[in-house]
């Protein structure tokens, strides 16, 4: 509903994706001298992270992202992350990509749900961006791109009212509705129940600007307080200490959105039993197919256009990253994934329109930039075709 939701969704999911990839790459990396041709090294890891982050914060992409627009469908968004994850020499099988996306979405759903105030979603975003800047601190050019986006976030969002932030939050919660995939790191930390639902604590600090519940104040018709009474409930709340910073640099105070993965804590998701109740099926988009698919492809087409897609071939074999502990596990996961949880990633070649042209785009390594003076958003794609 809020037309300003997409940047926050994209950046936070992207941030989670980077945390997970970084953890898996570190877990699977081998010291440089000992590495065989098909094994990861630290250098490879940094290269992958830099490539993905550079693509994510590409100036044109960000411009497109920050335009007021409705949220993409789940399918369309998943396809964007597919492309993003493959922006470098790294390759992921379908099963690993599915697991990656499950982890990303459940993590951000958790963060949105537990945000004390709707405005704190911005602090969560800043936590992700702070960490991303840490990943690329050695590359000033990419760091600059991230800082630019940071500034744009501040400019776009800090002036919004609480009501507008709540609308953004409600829009995000509609997007995440009915997703109850169990994540082992959440289960272990007792933030998620075995039925896939998150634990909502009824203790701890209240949000900044809220009072600890319990006080009733009565005023007379002149506005003078005449009585105070108290009531008690099961909750155990305290006043918060300070507010997080919304500046470019600062202590965010909030822990949501910081990196919860570390090399020693492998992350698994559990498929079995996660969708017993009909109402809790992960929602495969059952609304009419989004005719805005043209718009979504437009963004993807531009993304593809800006990329130098590394085709695995010749010397490089295309390093494969496995999100599971063994290859057998990955294979097994692919075969046992419940139907209702399959993402049905948009296969661009399968669309009815412009089938041949789109196949050609995918096949080529470089694509012409769209005409700068195209009439409207939907026209860009057609102009792109004409330019080929």
């Amino acid at each position: 509903m809020s037309s300003r939701t997409l940047p926050l969704l994209f950046l936070n999911l992207g941030g989670e994706m980077l945390y997970i990839l970084d953890q898996r790459l570190r877990a699977q990396s081998i010291p440089g001298e000992k590495a065989r041709k098909d094994e990861w090294t630290d250098v490879d890891r940094k290269r992958v992270m830099n490539d993905i982050i550079a693509t994510m914060f590409n100036k044109k992409f960000m411009e497109e992202l920050f335009k007021p627009q409705e949220l993409y469908s789940k399918k369309a968004l998943r396809t964007v992350y597919d492309r993003l994850a493959h922006a470098s020499i790294m390759r992921l099988n379908q099963a690993s990509m599915d697991k990656l996306y499950d982890l990303m979405t459940m993590a951000f759903k958790y963060q949105v749900l537990l945000c004390p105030r709707p405005r704190d979603i911005l602090l969560v975003t800043f936590n992700h961006l702070d960490a991303i800047k840490d990943f690329v601190y050695e590359s000033p050019a990419i760091l600059n791109q991230v800082d630019e986006t940071f500034r744009q976030l501040i400019e776009t969002y800090t002036c919004l009212s609480d009501g507008e932030f709540q609308l953004i939050r409600q829009t995000l919660l509609i997007f995440f509705q009915d997703m109850h995939i169990r994540v082992s790191i959440f289960l272990k930390d007792k933030v998620q129940n075995s039925n896939g639902r998150f634990v909502l604590p009824i203790s701890g600090p209240v949000p900044w600007g809220t009072e600890v519940p319990g006080l009733i104040r009565i005023f007379n018709h002149k506005g003078v307080e005449v009585k105070r009474t108290e009531f008690t409930t099961a909750g155990n709340y305290v006043t918060p200490q300070r507010e997080g910073s919304f500046e470019l640099y600062g202590d965010r105070v909030l822990k949501l959105g910081t990196n919860m993965y570390s090399v020693s804590r492998p992350v698994e998701t559990h498929m079995a039993g996660s969708s017993r109740n009909t109402a809790s099926h992960a929602k495969v988009s059952s609304t009419a197919p989004n005719p805005l698919a043209k718009e979504e492809l437009n963004l993807l087409a531009r993304l593809l256009g800006g990329l130098d897609i590394q085709k695995p071939g010749g010397g490089e074999t295309g390093f494969r990253l496995n999100l599971f502990t063994t290859d057998e596990e990955e294979e097994n996961a692919a075969q046992t994934r419940p139907e209702e949880l399959s993402y049905k990633v948009i296969n661009i070649e399968a669309t009815q329109e412009r089938r041949e042209e789109l196949s050609r785009i995918l096949g080529e390594l470089e694509v012409a930039e769209p005409h700068p003076d195209s009439a409207g958003k939907g026209e860009d794609l057609l102009a792109l075709m004409d330019g080929l």
């Binding site: 037309s3 609480d162 609308l167 018709h221 109402a279 809790s280 009419a288």
Partner: protein, 330 residues
């Protein structure tokens, strides 16, 4: 109170303000429940299987719009089920079987920075249904006793922020107190007297904290806010009469039982509270007492409604919950 039964919905409820509609019958259990799930309204009636009503207005270039709220509007002559969405207002016969009226909002072709939607529904003045919009305008529809000849009678333009909720006087309004209250995102409350022409009687300025839910009873406005507070205002004078630190998170729903003055509040903090409003006959002070607290474990409450006019029973809906929880006397 204690938990009585759980009614299964076809789909879970979305995190939207006042997301539970109940069609009450005077001396019996409710006839129907409704909760919004994204683009559809999940309906649960006493007869027949559960149903779903979709949002209207998805044209060829637009995807299915999201619903924001649904409510049964009980007028003397008829009861209509009203749905508000990103595209407009849909009115159905009470059982959801027939579309009576559709009003499309002026929606810009390309999304503007400010989202467009309708939100806030109330029956008012015996023959009107009022619906709020994201521009702050309140649409007043004149409802004929039967048939589909609904007309837009007036557009009230006093709010400058998106409307969140609208409530009509459920008891006896003291003189000059007005019989309708409208609330918005900035916490501003407007008091109106209804009729051929609606008149603005008073405005209580907001302080930037969203008022997400509001009720009006015997000249007392009860308002729930984003900072978890419930405030009671004197409708006639705009004077603040009580302030309650009621919830630890954003309040999503308020409801009032007109026979007893019981007030129900539900919030993101998983709690539902029952309060008792009264007026001290000697001092004329407004009083509010806490009666009961329910914790809906691991659920952010998004809808709460009394199921009878005395407030002996109530129902609760929550985000991602595929059920409606019903509570009755202990």
């Amino acid at each position: 109170y204690r938990r009585e039964r759980t009614l299964a919905l076809r789909s879970s409820s979305s995190a939207l303000y006042n997301n539970l509609a109940v069609l009450c019958a005077p001396a019996r259990p409710p006839r129907a429940f409704g909760a919004v799930h994204g683009t559809t309204l999940s309906l649960l009636g006493t007869e027949g299987p559960p149903r779903q009503l979709p949002a209207r207005g998805g044209g060829s270039a637009l995807s299915t719009p999201l619903l924001t709220q649904a409510a049964w509007c009980q007028l003397p002559a008829r009861v209509l089920l009203v749905l508000t969405s990103q595209r407009g207002v849909q009115m159905y016969e009470a059982d959801g079987s027939t579309l009576v009226f559709w009003h499309a909002l002026d929606v810009p072709e390309h999304p503007a920075a400010h989202s467009a939607f309708a939100r806030g529904i109330a029956a008012a003045g015996e023959r009107f249904i009022c619906v709020g919009t994201s521009s702050g305008a309140v649409l007043v529809f004149d409802i004929p006793p039967k048939g589909t000849n609904v007309t837009l009678s007036e557009v009230l333009e006093q709010h400058r922020d998106p409307v969140t909720d609208i409530a009509a006087e459920q008891g006896q309004a003291p003189d000059g107190a007005g019989d309708l209250v409208t609330a918005d995102d900035s916490g501003t409350l407007c008091l109106w007297s209804t009729g051929e022409e609606f008149t603005l009687l008073g405005k209580i300025p907001g302080s930037g904290c969203t008022c997400s839910s509001v009720t009006l009873w015997n000249g007392i406005v009860a308002a729930g806010y984003g900072n978890g507070q419930i405030r009671l205002w004197e409708a006639g004078t705009g004077q603040l009469r009580a302030q309650v630190s009621a919830h630890a998170r954003w309040i999503y729903a308020l409801d009032l039982a007109p026979l007893t003055g019981k007030l129900l509040s539900g919030a993101e903090d998983s709690f539902v509270h029952v309060w008792k409003l009264s007026r001290n006959p000697d001092t004329d002070d407004v009083e509010i007492q806490h009666c009961h607290a329910e914790c809906v474990t691991d659920t952010q409450v998004c809808g709460a409604r009394f199921c009878d006019p005395a407030g002996d029973t109530f129902a609760v809906s929550g985000y991602d919950l595929g059920e409606i929880l019903c509570y009755g006397p202990a």
